[in-house]
């Protein structure tokens, strides 16, 4: 993917906007959730209090307390059940009629024996509640199958001592709780909206939501005086409160999803808005960055064209701001580049012409040297020889020796001229570039050196190691190997066992070829002089030569882009190194 500024800028702005939007939404959601939870936590205890008050203020307790103090009941009990029966029943019927289907009212003595009964509802023949003496007391909620009922009892007399023997007893009312959807809806409405109200025993089952019997809430809900979370089908937030004067508790609860509904509503409303802002922002950023990068792109294209050689490339200046200034500066620069380029071209052409002239002069000079220097030399040599051959008899031995000296020096001079011309030709010759099998070349040169090796008293062993191929001019590289091997052969001539090795090694990215011998060597102090023209470290009497061979080696290697150097020690052999490019540059 091309990460141009035109793409990066809108992307950056979009990411920034997204980050802001997400942060905003997260914080807003948290705040709303917090607020609605606080609201719920205020509502729930309020609801429990309303319900608790409702039950506390029940009329039943007041009526049963009054009934236990009724003189007719007391008289009936005091008579041992023998008199006042009708008056007692009438008092009881004022509380519960004989036809009441959901309620039963009983009068028993302290042993639990049923004395009188009104109302049709009855559960069992027993006392459910230990009765209160001063006022009626509610018993815990009780359950028979799917029915819940409430017992309330009050004592007539103290039930102790004299009262227990005569005149005491218990008034007990048992009422069935009417569980219905209507009751539940009414109570829920009372608590407000989604709050569910539950009633049950503080010690455990049974519990009801006023429509049906439900499992008791966990003890942590019942014991806590602040709203808590718990699971009942779903996550709930609940608050519990005891109903004063009863063993009951009420619980008000709200599903957590209802508590967090406003926060979700906030998200639903705000998220699309935030997305819209992000999209609009991204579009604006994209448009802005295009406006910014297009002129930059124009300048870049023009600069690329300029770099590729189109010097007439200019940019259209469309604006007056920094980008406009850039475009103008570019045009000025392009103008100058174009001008100096043309100037340079003219100069190059002029220099090239001058150089061509010099080259031609040099060529004609070496032609003259080649031709005119050799002719007189040939004459000197020729006539000296003729003198020796034709007038041998007339010449004294000293004259003959002197003619011999002339002969030697003219030969040497001829060799010098040839070498010098070869050396100067190298500077002008085009260097070919092709893969060269150096190992094969070295073997061919070694064969030639062995063939032409003369004046040796000992043995000559030339070892060719495997050599990597080079890239260059084959005839010239042959010349390099030839000169170096000829030298190695020459300077090992007086050894009993002359050894020459041609090898190579890989050294920091380039191939280093070397030719190593065990010959006369040289003084390492003069190692840098070896490669100069006409530089010789040995006398002609010791080893013949013109001192051009190594200069030629150096020039060829350098023209290939390589380096050449030598190591050696007097009488301990010499090693010549050169590097060559392994492939085309």
């Amino acid at each position: 993917m091309n990460w141009s500024i035109e793409r990066k800028l809108p992307l950056f702005v979009t990411i920034l906007l997204l980050a802001v939007a997400i942060t905003q939404l997260t914080i807003g959601y948290g705040e709303v959730r917090q607020a609605s939870r606080a609201l719920a936590d205020k509502r729930l205890p309020l609801a429990t209090k309303v319900l608790a008050d409702l039950f506390q203020a029940g009329q039943g307790r007041v009526r049963i307390t009054a009934l236990a103090k009724d003189p007719a009941i007391a008289a009936f009990l005091r008579s041992g059940g023998r008199s006042g029966r009708d008056a007692a029943l009438a008092a009881m019927r004022r509380v519960t009629t004989d036809t009441a289907s959901n309620t039963g009212l009983e009068l028993r003595d302290f042993s639990g024996k049923l004395l009188l009964h009104t109302g049709r509802f009855s559960v069992a023949d027993s006392v459910f509640v230990s009765p209160g003496t001063d006022s009626a007391r509610y018993g815990p909620l009780m359950r028979r199958d799917t029915t819940l009922f409430i017992a309330i009892a009050a004592a007539v007399g103290s039930g102790e001592g004299r009262d227990a023997e005569r005149g005491g007893g218990i008034v007990q009312q048992v009422a069935r709780m009417s569980l219905s959807e209507r009751t539940r809806t009414t109570l829920t409405g009372l608590a407000g909206g989604d709050v569910a109200l539950l009633l049950g025993n503080a010690t455990g089952d049974p519990w009801t939501d006023f429509a049906r019997i439900v499992p008791a809430p966990p003890s942590n809900v019942l014991n806590s005086r602040t709203p808590v979370r718990y699971e009942r089908g779903e996550t709930m937030r609940a608050s519990a409160a005891p109903v004063p004067g009863t063993p009951w508790m009420v619980v008000a609860e709200l599903p957590s999803r209802v508590v967090s509904a406003p926060a979700r509503a906030y998200l639903t409303a705000m998220a699309p808005l935030a997305l819209l802002i992000v999209i609009v922002g991204a579009l604006i950023a994209w448009w802005g960055s295009r406006r910014l990068t297009r002129p930059l792109g124009d300048v870049t294209h023009a600069a690329e064209a300029l770099a590729a050689g189109d010097l007439d490339q200019r940019v259209l200046v469309r604006r007056d701001d920094e980008l406009g200034r850039l475009a103008r500066s570019f045009n000025t620069m392009a103008e100058q580049v174009s001008r100096s380029h043309h100037h340079l071209e003219a100069q190059v052409a002029q220099r090239t012409k001058a150089l061509e002239g010099t080259n031609a002069e040099l060529e004609s000079f070496s032609y003259s040297v080649s031709h005119d220097l050799r002719a007189p030399l040939r004459a000197i040599h020729g006539f000296a020889r003729i003198l020796l051959e034709d007038h041998h008899a007339n010449l004294e031995p000293e004259a003959q020796r002197l003619l011999g000296v002339i002969d030697q020096n003219t030969r040497r001079m001829g060799q010098l001229i040839d070498d010098l011309l070869a050396f100067s030709r190298l500077g002008r010759k085009e260097i070919g570039a092709a893969p060269v099998d150096m190992e094969e070349l070295a073997r061919a040169v070694a064969d030639e050196v062995r063939r032409t090796d003369v004046g040796r008293t000992g043995t000559l062993a030339i070892q060719i190691d495997p050599l990597p191929p080079a890239h260059g001019d084959r005839p010239l590289l042959r010349q390099v190997l030839s000169n170096l091997l000829q030298n190695a052969a020459k300077f090992t001539r007086d050894r009993a066992e002359a050894r020459v090795e041609v090898g190579s090694r890989w050294d920091s990215g380039e191939t280093v070829y070397f030719i190593k011998d065990n010959g006369a060597g040289f003084d390492a102090r003069y190692a840098d002089k070896l490669f100069g023209v006409f530089q010789r470290l040995h006398s002609t009497e010791q080893f013949d030569g013109t001192g051009v061979g190594l200069a030629i080696v150096k020039r060829i290697v350098q023209r290939h882009g390589g380096r050449v150097w030598a190591e050696g020690k007097v009488d301990h052999g010499a090693t010549f190194y050169f590097t060559l490019p392994t492939e085309e540059r």
Binding site: S366, Y367, S370, H371, D372, R374, A375, P376, L377, R378, A379, H381, G382, F383, A384, R385, I386, T410, R411, M413, G414, I417, D418, L421, R425
Partner: protein
């Protein structure tokens, strides 16, 4: 065909000419040699109407008046003389000279050695080859 001239030597350098003649003489080839001192003389040799056809022309390149390459060009351009073998015998071993000479139809290109023995051997070998071994068209 003139039996008188078998070798035409075109050489401006008197010393070189003398050494060449001496080398040929040693092989008994010097009797039929005609010497020209410059290119113009050489062209006159063929232009005088005598219709002389030597068996070989030994031609130096660096000559006064008309240079050797020009002489070579004219000889090879003329139908009457183009089959005469021309051996370039010169001091120059410059590559351009060699290429141009062969391009103009030179039959051989010999670089005169500085060493007299080598020079004498080269000259006499050339003389022997073209005079005795080579069969020109009749």
């Amino acid at each position: 065909m003139s039996a008188g001239v078998e070798i035409l030597l075109v050489e401006d350098n008197a010393n070189d000419a003398e050494l060449t003649l001496r080398a040929l003489k040693q092989r008994n080839l010097a009797n039929q040699v005609f010497l020209c001192r410059d290119g113009a003389e050489a062209l006159d040799f063929f232009a005088d109407g005598a219709g002389r056809v030597p068996k070989v022309v030994l031609l130096d390149l660096k000559l006064p008046k008309v240079d050797g390459l020009e002489v070579l060009r004219r000889l090879k351009a003329d139908p009457r003389t183009k089959s005469i073998p021309v051996v370039v015998l010169t001091s120059s071993r410059e590559e351009p000279d060699i290429e141009r000479a062969y391009a103009l139809g030179a039959n051989s290109y010999i670089v005169k050695p500085v060493d007299f023995e080598a020079f004498a051997r080269a000259v006499s070998d050339v003389g022997l080859y073209w005079l005795l071994l080579n069969h020109p068209p009749q």
